[in-house]
Amino acid sequence: MTEQPARRPRAPARAALLIAEKDLKARIRDRSALIFGILVPLGLAFIFNAIFGGVSGNSLAISLGVAVSDHGPVSQAFVRQVLDPLQRSGLLVLHTEPSAAAARSLTANGTLRAAIVIPSGFSGAVLANQPASMTVIENASAPVTAQIVHAIAEGYTADLNRIRLSVRTVAANSPGGLSPARIGQLAARAAAAEVPVAIRDISASTKELDNKSFYSAGMAVFFLFFTVSFGVTGLLEERNDGTMARLIAAPIPRASILAGKLITSFVLGAFSMTVLVIATSLLFGASWGNPAGVALLIAAATLAAIGIMSLIATFARNAEQASNWQSVVAVILGLLGGTFFPVSQAPGILSKLTLIAPQAWFLRGLGDLRAGSLSVIWTPIAALLVFTVVTGAVALFRLRHLAEV
């Protein structure tokens, strides 16, 4: 017989950590957290990337052939001022083709999704204020791409038409009219002028997550809500399994039992998100942004998820019911939050509804992080903390009743 066992109350914080350690051990054993927290989101992110963009590429980049037979300033300006910026933004991948025939052939066999052909004499006609045209070659199997390329070409030709109209107006109002040479000079100067105001659209290009990052982050935060629910639902499981009575009979405060469950949720959520960040970066090339900012966003999103899932659990009578309700809420918030597709760009009330989903704020935070320094993510973090405080306060008040027999 060894010495008399110690008989003293356990310090509240230590008791909470012991309960969390026990829960984490059990969760690792039953593999549920591993499956929902890491394997399923990783698998779905892979599938979405494969379907919508390819695992290693950006799905939105359009392979556009450009066959320029004209070497004048207007066609050069089109390539330099219109197409190159779009390529830098990731919308286009330009392929210079030697002839219209080559561009047509590559578009037909699907190598290119569209092509623009600028014929010889294009700049000359524009500078002479004469009608000029460029050709868009479409791939029949990529109608959306064709529309985008059409819009790009029409945008530029509209600019040219405005120049023509302006020069004609000047000519018509000049006393005695203008000579063709003078008209040509005016048209050339107008066409050669740089765009006076360039709008840097960070919402459309820089701020938006690329597909690899979007689906990785979307799946991670979608399943975060399932992962954290394992901790708080543990309270109901303890009641169902009869072990709650034993915990309450032990010399520890009831608050330690609640704290232990919340710690379990946070560790499970933060750990699975961290693993997903690393795994998707290495496997898919996802770009999450500044590590410190990502860590802050993960911590805030995990807390918000715990608050919401805890609140749902307090209304359930048993662990199974809680799990069902939590799943429904997680799916609805996930859809509203744009974890599968960017609902924030949807028209009308739908885009406003995204504000009630913490997932949307998390994704927005990641987007902001891509566009700027750490200071730009305080708004999403503040929003996530509001979710935490509001739902967490109500949940804590109600959770006290779960720590009873």
Partner: protein
Amino acid sequence: MADSPVLQCHGLRRKFGDLVAVDDVSFQIAHGETYGLLGPNGAGKTTTISMIAGLLERDAGEVSVAGKPMTTRTVQAKVALGYVPQDLAIYPDLSGLENLVFFARLYGMSRAQAKGRAREVLELIGLSDRAGDQTKKYSGGMKRRLNIGVGLLNDPKLLILDEPTVGVDPQSRNAILESVSGLSSAGMAVLYTTHYMEEAERLCDRVGIIDHGNLIAEGTRRELVGMVGEFDSVSLTASGDVSAVAQALATMDFVKKASVTEDGIDLVVSDARDNLPGILAEAAAQGVAIKSVEVTEPDLEAVFLHLTGRALRD
């Protein structure tokens, strides 16, 4: 201090809505004493011990364990308490050893102390060879033993066992009863609830009979039986002049009735256990050979029937 009761509860009362589950229940348990709370299902046994263990708020009354007041918020009194709930309360994904170490650490033990104590308890409950197996792989009897083992981790001054043999096979049941008997012999106070009259009679030094939330009688088995006023029956199978023996026994003070039967003598006596040697001596003196003796004492079932007009299992 050693003479003061380990458990004192006074005037316990608890209502659930309009139902008074426990009403003015008072009793105490001394060191080394096994106290049985006997009553049918729904009588208020579990509600009573839930209040004693600090699991359930009480509407009225006082409880102290090892001299310290017990409430749902207190932790000091719980240090001296071991609680074994009626349902299995162990974690299926953890091994037997891990279950015990976890609960031991909640009682303030270091990891090393907890492991040492867990191995002692595993030895005590006969599960040392299965210590590393997940408890979901245990048999029902093994789980029951582990369930009790958890309650012993802190070497409690008061051990509460809530119907620990419900749903247990006869072999495991016997092992549990022997273990409990050994614990009280070692000085532990035990509060044992059951609706099995045989268990209460076998284990308990004193028994409280509870029905509809009221403690309707309390005392040793003999005191309770005496309260009912019934006598013991003794049946002797004998050969020889049994009539003469019956006549002689009928004159003795403790014999209320003596009658000759086909194969012996039937007696109605008081305190059969104490007076059996006198009966056998009289038979021997008359030259009657006794082949067998059967003593039937009035049991707690009879007491419960007498007090409530119902059988325990009604």
